[in-house]
Subunit: 199 residues, 2 copies
DNA sequence: ATTGTAATCTTGACACTGTCAAGATTTTAA
DNA sequence: TTAAAATCTTGACAGTGTCAAGATTACAAT
């Protein structure tokens, strides 16, 4: 695979990939620049040629997370064109699925491991894109008279917040066992949306 | 206040307090055991007489956060006895207020800075207590016919998740400026609940 | 093609961190 | 009174993020 040249060739992506792997296998607490570098087969300061600091790498990983999430949302939207309600429900399901399948990436995306002092344009762009997708679904539902009309973005925050909150609580282990024995996360989220819709 | 005895007298609480202060002033990233010890005026390993490791101190800080939150909820509940709807709305407002006034404690309470391998009984107890308070409010609303009946705990997760999710997104800076210019967090949360109620 | 400049990567260093081990001091209980 | 337990200190170690200086390579301008 890798010819042992002095220059790696695609180190930046290799570092992100290594970071994602460490995140999945060992969790946020074990993610270090040095370990990422080691995994990519370079010296411990090589990452500094591509990332200004650890925050910057985290931003890149989060960005990739949002790209994947965005792609999942897009797929849900396109799979159910002309069926706004299904778009909404399946979009939410995609959100749940993504979070459960990528717990630590999901955490890092939202849990402000990223301190927002500096801004990371790519991150901001793709995370806003995800929000815009949600707004669009809501707007479509409004046009189809499935959701009450009004400010679509505020409504989107409310609905998105609901989905996000339930998942976040679940991932952090804050939802009691007894509840999760009755209903799966998927079911709870779906029920939440159904309630929100028929109002 | 402190006589300079060899034994501190109330070091455990002093460490928690110091931790909370650092959290408020410098954020999660700057919270270290050594700094907490320094602030309390003891050596860098003194905390190990009271906390098995850093996680354990974080657990204690989170626990205190839940105690405060729980107290705020309790106050909202008691201030509006015989008015379930107000209990629900004011409870949510208390939740918002607490989160905004203690952003970093709120983050640490939920953002799994606490890795859940070991369990922390005091933490589990008080965090569950908060959830029980929420369930009770929901149950009361059901009895007053303000919320549709059904499994109260599942409904509580849905409502709590909604409130929590909106706040979490806001605190992590994920809610776009344009939305927050139209409506404050308090208003958004209230609107969310009003919608949830009249279904 | 040559060469200078920029990009990439390495070695070495520093301060800071969590944590352990050994020992000092104080409190508590027998 | 004294033995044991609790509390606190000093000293050490490995792991971390990050900087500085220099080595190696790619690349663009001549």
């Amino acid at each position: 695979m890798k010819s042992k040249t002095y220059h790696h060739g695609d180190l930046k992506n290799a570092l992100i990939k290594a970071g994602v792997e460490i995140l999945a296998k060992e969790g946020i607490g074990k993610l270090s620049l040095r370990k990422v570098a080691l995994k990519a087969g370079v010296s411990h300061t090589a990452p500094y040629s591509h990332f200004s600091d650890k925050q910057s790498l985290i931003a890149a990983i989060s960005t990739e997370g949002f790209q994947r999430l965005s792609k999942a949302l897009d797929s849900a939207i396109k799979s159910h064109a002309n069926n706004p309600k299904k778009q909404l429900i399946e979009g939410a399901q995609a959100y749940v699925k993504f979070a459960l399948a990528n717990k630590d990436i999901f955490k890092i995306m939202f849990s402000s491991a990223l301190e927002k002092e500096k801004d990371y344009p790519a991150f901001v762009e793709v995370s806003q894109k995800a929000f815009i997708q949600v707004i669009d679904i809501v707007r479509t539902c409004q046009e189809a008279n499935i959701i009450k009309s009004g400010e679509a973005d505020v409504l989107a925050v409310i609905i998105w917040g609901q989905v996000h909150g339930i998942i976040a609580l679940a991932i952090e282990g804050q939802i009691s066992h007894t509840v999760l024995e009755k209903k799966s996360l998927q079911e709870i989220v779906t029920q939440a949306i159904e309630q929100a819709i028929k109002s």
